[in-house]
Structure formats: structure tokens, C-alpha cells
Symmetry: D2
Subunit: 426 residues, 4 copies
């Protein structure tokens, strides 16, 4: 037998694709270690372990990243209100850094010169994984079979994979493939490809896995409250249970359970992948949807206006893009994330929510932070406010506007006449 080409750490899922990749890598002369990350997906890890070893993996690693996924990735994203293209809450993106970091740690420890994965050549995940690898271990070598012609030409189509699996005695448990692909973790599940590639196809009712349909959710609303400290959710109170949840992971999982029950968190979007291809994705992000509403609301009460504006325009926008494009282990992420704590120092308080058939309704919020001042805000009393000050304020604010208006009038370009902007479309 010829000498090994080297040791490969393979991101293994237990499915057909990565099992075939495992066998193919061995066929190519590599020694393969299989790696699985538990980021909260529903999975039979023990079965996967057995399968990997049966197919020929020399070692199998299963690592539980649920806690660091929540505390190191998800909660900073909550603090920053991260969202991509106004809709997508970044569930897949957020899991990639913890998985990649875990893989690099094992690769380091176990002396693997190569890593491999089963990501396709058109998607975001290949980029997210590989940039994360390089940002941690710049000398790692990546084998991406779905971008290697000799692999993707040989295995064009599911039938070729099934035949190879049969040759290699890879057990194929899946009787019938779903007409879409999914990626799941404790934050969300994604659906894409297959029948979803027509953006005008309504997702079938039985696709959605995590949440009930709003139509099937309870007809009675449920009230909960979430307490934030420095922008982090530190307590969820569920009156119906007479219980509080304070552990970071428990908080998230409880919100997941509540949102799933009340039909909260379904998303359907045509988004722009990092490589510039438009793509249709459906997602269920139950807890994240509640947390987004609640966190943005408590910021209304506790965050200074100018900080909020700067944070929204720069930090939220850029960090969301960084996450989506897989730029977590980069200098720009280091830079952007360094500003989160200062933005959240005052974000302390409690939000009361009503959950009902897909709706997350804020019913009230409270804080000791003191940036909101009922008397000052009041329309019924002066509360220390001098209305004449506003006259000065408006007067100063209008200085440059008046100059502009005077110039317009002098040049006959004043703006009093109506103009039908709608007509511009003709």
C-alpha cells in the first residue's frame, strides 16, 4: 500500500455527501479523521460516529459547541441587532465560526495538514468555512471536493453518489430525499434548493419543521418578559410556568420553545450570496425573532439617540455583512466588535411581550437607566423644560436652510410648486 498523502480532518454530517467524500478521500490516499460539531441540530450523533468509522475514518471527534455558539456568537449578534438585507437573521453564518474554530483546534492537536468539507461550490458556506480556517490557521490546506472537477464530474447527480455508496458499502438510510436541503442548529433551520429555487413557489406547509403555522398556533396569547443587562438577555420570565430562566443557553432554548409554539420566526427571502448569485432561502429563527424585537425595544428606552444611530448605520450593518460573508476571523471583525460593549453599557431593563400567532407584541418596558424622563417627555407639564429654548433651537437649525432657500428664490429654483414624483416612473 502506498504512503498516505496526509491526514485530513473532514467536517462530517453523517449524510450521503460527506460519507462519500470520506470514502473518496481514502480512495485518493488520504488518512481521514471525521469531525462533527453539536451546535444544537437534531441529529443521531452516535449513528454518525459508527457510520464514519465504518466507512473508514481513523478517528471520530464530536464536540459540543452549544454554549459558546450562544454566548460568543449569538448574543453579540443580538446586542448588535444583526440582520442581513433587512430579513435574514444569520443563523447559519453564526454557527460557522465556532465549528471552524473547533476544527482548527483539532487539526492543530491531531496534526492534520488538510481539512475537507462537503459544501457546494456555489454557496456561502464554503467561503465562510475556509476564510475562518485561514483566519485561524493560515497554513491549513483545504480539500473542497465539490470544487474539484474530477470529483464533481464523477459525482454529477445523486445517482452517481448512491452507486459509489453501494460500492463502498456506505449505509444509505435516507429512503426518500426531500426536495430541498436544510441546515439546522439551535438558532435556526434553513431550507433552500430544489423546489424552492423557483422564487414564486410557496413553501409547502410540511416543509416548516421548527415552528407551527400561525394558523395552528394557540388562540390564546401568552405573556412573557425578558430582562437585559448590557444588552444581553439575562432572564426570561414565563408566568404561565411560574418560572424564570437565567442560564444563557436556557434563556435561548426557552425562547425557542415559546416561539415555536406561537408560530414565530418564519422567513422567506431572495438574498444575495457573497459570490454575487441571488438565491432563495427559507428560515425558521424562533428565539432570535423574539430577541430582536425585545432588544430593539429596550434600546429605545435605554440607549442614547446618537449612539443608536451610529451603531445602526455602521456596527449593525457592517457586522451583519461580516457574519454573512464569513469574515469572523478577520481584522475588521476584531475592529467592529470592539465597539459593542460601549454601545450596550446602558442597555439595562425589562421588556414585556405578548406572543400570539406569529406576532411578537411589545406591551411595555421599564428600566432604571434614567435616559427616559416621564416629566421631561410629558406634553402635560413643563418638567423643567423651557419652551422658549426650542425657539432658539429652531432658529439656529434654520440658519443654513434659510440661506439655501434664499439662494433658490434668487435663482428661481424655489420648491413651492407641487411635483408628482410618482410620474417619474413613466
Amino acid at each position: 500500500m502506498s504512503e498516505s498523502k496526509g491526514r485530513v480532518l473532514l467536517a462530517y454530517s453523517g449524510g450521503l455527501d460527506t460519507s462519500c467524500i470520506l470514502a473518496w478521500l481514502i480512495e485518493q490516499g488520504y488518512e481521514v479523521y471525521a469531525f462533527m460539531a453539536d451546535v444544537g441540530q437534531e441529529e443521531d450523533f452516535e449513528a454518525a460516529r459508527k457510520k464514519a468509522l465504518a466507512v473508514g475514518a481513523k478517528k471520530f471527534f464530536l464536540e459540543d459547541f452549544k454554549r459558546e455558539f450562544v454566548t460568543e456568537l449569538i448574543y453579540p449578534a443580538v446586542q448588535a441587532n444583526c440582520i442581513y438585507e433587512g430579513v435574514y437573521l444569520l443563523g447559519t453564518s453564526l454557527a460557522r465560526p465556532v465549528i471552524a474554530r473547533g476544527m482548527m483546534a483539532v487539526a492543530d492537536r491531531e496534526g492534520c495538514d488538510f481539512v475537507s468539507h462537503g459544501c457546494t461550490g456555489k454557496g456561502n458556506d464554503q467561503v465562510r468555512f475556509e476564510l475562518a480556517f485561514y483566519g485561524l490557521k493560515p497554513d491549513i490546506k483545504v480539500i473542497a471536493p465539490w470544487r474539484i472537477p474530477e470529483f464533481y464530474n464523477r459525482f454529477a447527480g445523486r445517482q452517481a453518489l448512491l452507486q459509489f455508496a453501494a460500492e463502498k458499502s456506505i449505509p444509505v438510510t435516507q429512503t426518500q430525499a426531500k426536495p430541498w436541503s436544510t441546515d439546522e442548529n439551535l438558532f435556526h433551520i434553513s431550507y433552500e434548493a430544489g423546489i424552492l429555487e423557483d422564487p414564486n413557489t410557496t413553501p409547502p406547509a410540511d416543509m416548516w419543521k421548527l415552528t407551527v403555522a400561525p394558523e395552528d398556533a394557540p388562540t390564546t396569547p401568552e405573556r412573557i418578559s425578558i430582562e437585559f443587562e448590557r444588552g444581553l438577555p439575562v432572564k426570561v420570565t414565563v408566568p404561565a410556568e411560574g418560572k424564570d430562566y437565567t442560564d444563557p443557553v436556557d434563556v435561548f432554548l426557552k425562547l425557542n420553545a415559546l416561539a415555536r409554539k406561537h408560530g414565530i420566526g418564519r422567513i422567506d427571502i431572495v438574498e444575495n450570496r457573497f459570490i454575487g448569485v441571488k438565491s432563495r432561502g427559507c428560515y425558521e429563527s424562533p428565539a432570535a425573532t423574539i430577541l430582536r424585537v425585545a432588544h430593539m425595544d429596550i434600546e429605545g428606552l435605554t440607549l442614547d439617540r446618537n449612539v443608536r444611530a451610529l451603531r445602526d448605520q455602521f456596527l449593525t450593518f457592517e457586522l451583519s455583512k461580516i457574519l454573512y460573508n464569513g469574515h469572523w476571523f478577520t481584522p475588521e471583525r476584531e475592529f467592529i466588535v470592539s465597539a459593542i460593549p460601549a454601545s450596550q453599557r446602558t442597555v439595562n431593563g425589562i421588556v414585556r411581550l405578548k406572543l400570539y400567532k406569529g406576532n411578537v407584541v411589545v406591551e411595555g418596558r421599564a428600566s432604571d437607566e434614567g435616559l427616559y424622563d416621564e416629566k421631561q417627555s410629558s406634553m402635560d407639564e413643563l418638567g423643567g423644560f423651557e419652551p422658549t429654548d426650542t425657539t432658539g433651537f429652531i432658529s439656529i437649525e434654520s440658519i443654513r436652510i434659510k440661506k439655501w432657500a434664499q439662494a433658490n428664490i434668487r435663482k428661481g429654483q424655489a420648491g413651492i410648486e407641487p411635483k408628482d414624483v410618482y410620474g417619474t416612473r413613466v
Copy 2:
């Protein structure tokens, strides 16, 4: 009788405040013309006309701005996805420019040197109105009684106003004031002040006027579709009615009716006023809520990624701030708005929606624009895509990241070890 101090055009609402201001201005020696704008609010304009003239207005002007409100203000805001602090859809802000412009046109035509209004000294509307006045007619003089000590000290509290009304024979129809104030137009209604000043008070169920509660909305979903041309909603199709709506105002009003029926568009927020005071507001923005979902969705299918990102970060953000702060008639609005058409040239297509108990769910979208390419996007076929290209792409993208990682490693600052960001709150 002494000579008049000059002619004042008063923004008149027909209510107690502006009726008293009308009488007070006359008492101060001004000749007063009353002005009302029909921006779609529910109002007995004829009663208001009679009242104004009865109180002593020399002339009364009622102008219908509904169409220009929709076509010149609302639809550009829809094209730009305008929103303030992530939640507020700017309904009051959007109406101010058309009203202010109408007033300046009348002031010009009728030779009024002064304008007056009943806005309080703590709110946004005084700023929005006055900056708009100055941006159109920089020599206009503004009388803002609620910022004049001799007025606001005299009329501190509703009782003083009622007494003055009695003295001046101003009919007071309102039997019982609501414990909040409202501002209504065809876009929305706002609720603030009174009991809402405690941000932890849940708005009473009978406050909401325009929409039914999601709990009371129909149990059967309703499907509609909206067609966009250059980002403008040009057709609403309502299968249940077997009807299409294509007139700009009809489109908006029909969406209002549909959203009201399905409990769509309620907002509750603590927002930051232009003057720097935090304030709690509740809003109902029915049609606008549907249009926002639909327009953002069709942009997913039809707008280039980079245009979308730049538009979101700059145009959307800045135009929303401009609107909120009453900077419509300013050079920065002229600048920002000039970029809308180029951002919407390709935004053509149809969105299919499901309306159900507060939810606006996208069920599909289609466009002939061609930026989405099912084959190219597909995970099942190459569609002209060379997977090896992505290898080059990732390789180039990783150049600077690897350099950074190498430097980190050299300096012992590599990022493989886990770090509990959540712990930073302690």
C-alpha cells in the same frame, strides 16, 4: 380699534387648542386666516370651517393634499424603505411637507407675513413645520404660542383653555378628552402623551382606532398581490374581490382597508425626538406595513446586491432621519432623493402576499428583470458556473486574512481559544 399687527395664516384643526389660539391671535391684534389640510384624516371639515369663521377668522382655506401626499411623499419613502429607529414608519413626518408647502403657497398668495400653529414646545412637529416654512419662504414669521411665555403661562392646563373658550364663545364639542393625543392622516394615526407617557403601560384595547386587534381579525387568511414598477406600487390585485387597483391613491387606500381588517400595522415604541427627548408613541400604519414587506421582498429579487447595500446604509438611513427631523425642504433632502430613481430602475415585479392576523407573509415573487437566475442559483446543476472559480475567489479573498493571521500567530495573539463574550457583562 388699533391697526392690525399683520395677517396670520393659522394651521387650524378645529379643536380646542387651535380655536383658542385663533381667538388669542385676534386678541393680540392680528388678522387671522385659518388653514386646514385634508391629508386623509377623519374630520368634519365643514364644521371646522364654520367654527373658524365663528371664532373670528377672516378667511378659511381647506386644501386637499391626499394625492400629492401619496405620490410625492409616501411613495418615495416606500421606494427607499424609510423607517426611523427600526420601527416607526414616519406617518406624521411624511404629511408635514405637503401641509407646510400648501400653507406657504396660501401665505404667498394671500399676503400673510405670519404663520401660526398649535404644536407644543417639546415635540417634533413644531420643528418639522417651521423648518419646512423656512425652507420654502425664508422670510416668513412664525408665531408659536405654546413657546411664548405669555401664552403658555396663561393657558397652563386644559381648564384655562376651556375658560378662555367660554369667554370667547368658542363651541367646545368634545365632552370627554381621551387620555392621549392623536394625529391622523391617510397613512397612519399616532397616539402619544397622557397615560402613554409611562412606557410600561400597555395601550388600552379601545385606543387603537384604525386596525382590529390580531385576535379579532378574520380566522381565514387573505391572499393579494402587488405589482411594482421602478419600486412604485402600480397595481394591487385582490382575488377575493376579483378586482385590481391601479390609481396611486386607490392602491394605498385599498391596502389600508385590507391591513385594517387583518390587524396589520400596530407599532409601540420609545423613540428619540429631534430635540433629544425620549418619547413613547403608538402608531397604526396599515398600508405602509404591507408595502414595506412587499417592496423589500421584490428588491431581493430585482435589485443588485451592492446597490441595495449602499442604499440601505446611506439613502434609507439618511432619508429616514431627514423625514423624522423635518428636513424635507433642505439641500440634503434634494441630494439624497436625487439618488432614488437610479436605485429603483430595476425594481419591477410582483409579490404575492398572505394577510393573516397581524402577519404579512410573502408567499412568492416574480419578475422579468433577470437578475435572479434559477439555473445559476441552482444547487442541482452547474448552470454555466465553474466551481473552480470559487477556489480562486476564496484564495484571493483570503490573502489579507492569512497575512493578519500569520502576524497574530507570530505575536502570540491567534484566535483559536474560546472566549466567553457573555462574560463581559460581569
Copy 3:
């Protein structure tokens, strides 16, 4: 004698204005303490002390802020490349926070309920001082005589001040006032007002105080080098002296001396004041001009591209505005400044400069940081670079551009035909 109205801490300059304000405050019934800050301006502090006490100040405080001015304000601004409207290096703005903080510390310690200053009612400094006061000690009361009608009407014009000075036996040393005003500190001197108010007037040659004219500077260039650590200038090497400077203040003062000698750092600008008035200012910022060139250059060698871009667009821009508008003691400054350290972690290296008749010319730079890689950059060797990767990169980068171009062609809107953009002005 009536009871005192309270104790005022007056920002005292020793000049005619603040001496008259001192006397006037006493006349108004206040007890006045005089405060002077040494921020490096050329001043006879002892004479000022005597004068203040002679006019009637109960106490006199002189505090030396030169070091904290350099280390807490100037160097962070250097790290962030702060500049206002592309030209102004913010010398006056940078001094205000240290002075204001010093005053609030004394006001606290000495039990002053009031502070006062001699800033005019149209300028930036009143705003910068007062917002800084309120950001530190929100209950402080400010007396700004130049905004109090009874003061500014009484003292309209220099003659009235001179007469009052004579009445109050205030010694007036200045024989002939210059036809402009100045503000000086170790960072810069500003010139404004008077003959400079015509923006088309060339500043007279004898106005410039700190720097020689480039025409009069040495005809022989001088070489120096500056070493940066984390973006801070930690060493200046002056070969002509055979000396290094490493103390933070010494570094700055040595660069000042070198720049003054070589005619470096003159600025002439029409800028936009915070209150919206355009204003013409001339400045000499010698050391700051050299540091700006050097710091930006070393960042080219040592700072990641994406960090630089984000920092330029957001941090540099916003911090410059914050400084100019006097928003140092605000939540937005706390937020923005928190991101500086992460942006400067890799900014380590040495820049070699030539100083010659107004020019600061970079002649070379070096760093051990390793983000620049001569081999990788080289056009003469591959240096580990695979040119084929770029083909993949361009291919991926062009995906969305091709889609856009195809749509343009389909719609007959392709861009091949020339278009004279210059013609748009007609």
C-alpha cells in the same frame, strides 16, 4: 452690601473681554473665581493672575493641562486621522475638553454653582464649552454674557468695553488691537474675524505667527523619522541634532519646532460652524500636519485594508464631527473612541520624512508587522501567488455585473455609447 448671587468660576484669559466680564459679574452681585488653563499658549500667566485679582477675583486658578491635552486628546485624534471638512485639524476643538474638565473639577472642589466664559454667541466655542460642562456636571449653571441682551447691548463695540475698563480701573495693555482674533495652544493657532471675514482677502504675511512662510523656509531639506507604536508617535529621530525624542509631549513639541522652521502647517478654509453659519478661518497646525502625513503613511504599510476603510468612513468621520461640535463628553464619543485601540493594534513602524518649504514628503517606511509582503506584492516573481486564482476571482466578481449588463442589453439600456457628463452643466 447685598448677599452674593453665588460663586462663579470664570474662564479667564487676561484680555479685555474676560476682564470686563469679571468686573461685570462682580457688579451683578456674584463672587468670582478666575480660572486659566495652560494648554501651551504663549501667555504671561503671572500678569494675568495679578490682573484678575486686581479686578476683583476672589481666587485665581492656573492649571497646566499640556500633558493631558497631548496624551488624552491630541494623540487619539492622530490615531484616528481626525480632520474636519477635509482641511481643519481641530486644534481649538481638541483643547476644549481638557479645559472644561479642569474647570468642572475646580467648580466641584470649590463649590461654584456657576461658570462663565467670554465666548461670543455665534461661534463654536460656546457650544463646545457648555456641552462639555453639561456632560460632566449636568447641574452646572452657565453665564454666557455675550448671549445676555443686557450685557451685549451695553457693550456693543470695543469702545464701550474700553470705557467700562477705565471705570473699573482695569489695566488695558493692548495698544492696538489686531484686525482679527486668535486662539492659541500647543497644537495650533487660529485666526478669524475682522479682515478675514471677506473670504477673498488673502491673509497678510505678518498675520502668521507660528510658522515661517514656505518662501522664507530653509532652502535645504531636513530629514527626520517618526516611530509609531499602536498608532501613537513614540519616537522622533532628528539626525541633524543626533537626537531622539520619546516623551509624548517632547515628541509633539519637537515636531512643532521642525514644522515651524520649514513652513509647514498653514491652513485657510471656509468652514461650516456647528450652528450652521459658514465662517472663514486660518490656522497654523505645524506638528499635527507632519503627524497626519506620517500616521496615514504608516497605516498604509501596517493596517488591514478593510479596517482602514471602515475606520476612515465611520470612525474618522464621526470622531472629527464629534470633536468639532464639542461632543467629547457624550455617549457617542464613548462609543466611537472605544474602537480606536482595535484599529491601531498593528500600526507599528517607522516613517522617514523630508521637510522642505511647506512640504512633508514621505521617503520611506518600514515595519515588522508583516502585512506587506514584498514577494507577494512583486511583479517580478510569483511569491506563492497563483495567477489562475485571479481568474476565478474575476469570474466570481463579474457574476452580478454580467446579470446587470445582460438586463441592460435586453432593455436597450447598455452603456457602450459615450456620454458627455461635462455637458450636464449646461
Copy 4:
């Protein structure tokens, strides 16, 4: 003889590289048409034509793009103050779109399915050219020999090229190659590679071609003035010549001549290429350096503050990046550029300049636009300004700052104590 593989339009320079590429393409079986663009570089076009045809080109096209280069690319960049990484004025980037557009027009007309160029695989120009090709003619096929292994491996090193040239009878006029490469057009010349790859090497004095050294420039300053209309330079007045220049190209060329004579426009920078590699470049951009100073200055007098700020932060920044990265024929350029005219409507006026030994000194500026108001700005008279208004302005501006300060004090986090930011580096 075998059939042709197709017709290639080659971007031909007349130099060794593209002559060898020409011969190699013929060797590979292509029919080659040679294309040269006159963008103002110093070149013997007739000699190049003869050479191209001698080497085997079937046709030769020379197109003069000087005017459209100036009016369609350079002047919009002047209007937008474009600059990359604070230093580079984008001279090479600006020429690429006109050349690429010219090539696509010829390719269309002459039925060329392929284009080819001599750009290296590590630089920006390959990307700029090819993305421009694809943005205009998405079905064009590009042959980039320096990215094709069989080419770059065969011609590794200048010696191999010289030998191939000898084989193919390609005349090699260059006796001694300079130890750097250059790219020249009427805007600038660039120097890179070779000895410049060490960023600490000072460029040799004889490298600089367009400008005299400041040391060798005239000892007498020269005064000129530039008039702008809508941000475009429409007249240059040169008193020393008693002449005005008004033609767009003449204006630019005259400023070039003046700047070259006075040693203006040298740049030395380590910049970040689009592909993520840091690279050292030296440039001479004579006219552009003068225009940048003048245009920014006239904007100070004539452009509204808020427009300027938004334009600086977004338009200037993004358009500079778009130009640098070769994204001219893209939707984002279409979007961004659409906002230029509204930003320049008021930019009308004259700037007076002194040119002296590398310095461009503004000596005054004037405009009829009226946004600057000498009386309003004046420190010596009120000019219609009410100083009490500023009290109101500051009071309103301080509302949220006081709230923040009160909260800080309540939490013991007030900011009065000094903090040595400089110390953070330790």
C-alpha cells in the same frame, strides 16, 4: 493551415510584453486585431502601429479618448473629490473605463469574440479591464496570458520574452529597462514594481518624469485662478500669460503644465490592491492635485454643510472605491453617480491660488451663491443674529447629554477624572 480559433482584440501598448502576446496569440491560432487608446500618454503611436502590423496583427485601431477621459471620467471625479486611501488620486483607474468602452465598441463592430491584454495576474488593472468588459458586453471572452500557466511558465523572466521576440522578429527598441514599471495618461503617471517594491527605498530623483522636484521649481510663486460651475472647472486664468482657458481639455492640460513646473503632485504610498495585496506605488498627478485643492475650497464657500458631510462620507468614499476596484460599469456606479449633480448645483465660484515649490495655497475665493454671509458670520456685528437663540440651541442640544451625565453620576461612572489614553499602548 488550420482554421482560426477566433478573432481577438488585443489591448496593445507597443512594448515588449504585448508584442510577444500578439505573436503568441497568433501562434495559438487566433486572428489578432491590435487596439491602442490615446489617453494622453507620451507615445509614438505610428511606430506602434507599424510594429503591430509587422508582428502580424490583421488590423490596427488607434482611438483618441482624451476628451471623453477628461469630461466623462476625470471631471466627475473632481466633482466628487475622489481619492483612494487618503492619498491616491486614481489616475490609472480613471482611464480604464474609457479604454474598455472603446475596446468593446470595436469588438462589437469588428466581430471579435475575444479580447486580450498584457496585465499581470497580481494587479488591479486586469480586474478593472475585465469587469468593465463584462459590464458592457457580458458575453465577451477574455484571454489573459499572464494568468495562463502555459504562457506565464514559458515566459517567466524578461530573458524568455526577449528570446521569443528574437524568434518572432519582434523589434526590441528598449536598450535598458528601467527598474520599475510605469503607466501614463494625461492625468498622471504611475511607478511601481522593481526597486520600488521595498517600501523603504526612496524613489530615485531621476524616476520622476512629469514634475520637477520642489527643490528645482521656480523660486517665485505664480498666481492663477480657477472658476467652477456646478463643481466643474470651466475657466483657468493665468495672469502671467494674460490668458484664460475654457475648453475642458485645455483647462486640464494647462493645469498640468503649471503644476509640473511648480513641482506639484508627487505621491508615494503603500496602498491596498483590490485583490488584498499591499503594494507600493508612486504617482505624479499634477493638474489633479491643484483641482482637488481648489474644488474642496470652493465647496467650503458654496456647499451646504449637511450635503457636504453626506457627500464626503458616502459618495466620495464609495465612488473612490468603485473607481479603484474597476466597478465603473456596474449598478452601484450608476446609483452613486446619479447623486453628483444635486451635490454640485450650488458649487459656483472662483478660487485664487498660489503655486510654489510643491505647494498649492488658496489665497482667496468668491461666489455669488450666497450661502456665506459676511454679516451673519461676523464677530463684530449681530447681522440679524439673535445671540439668545444660541442659548436655546445649546439647551436643547444638552438635553440628552445631561441625561447621560446624570446616569453616569448615579452609577459612579462620571468622567471628570483624567485618564492617560497614551498609556493604553503599554
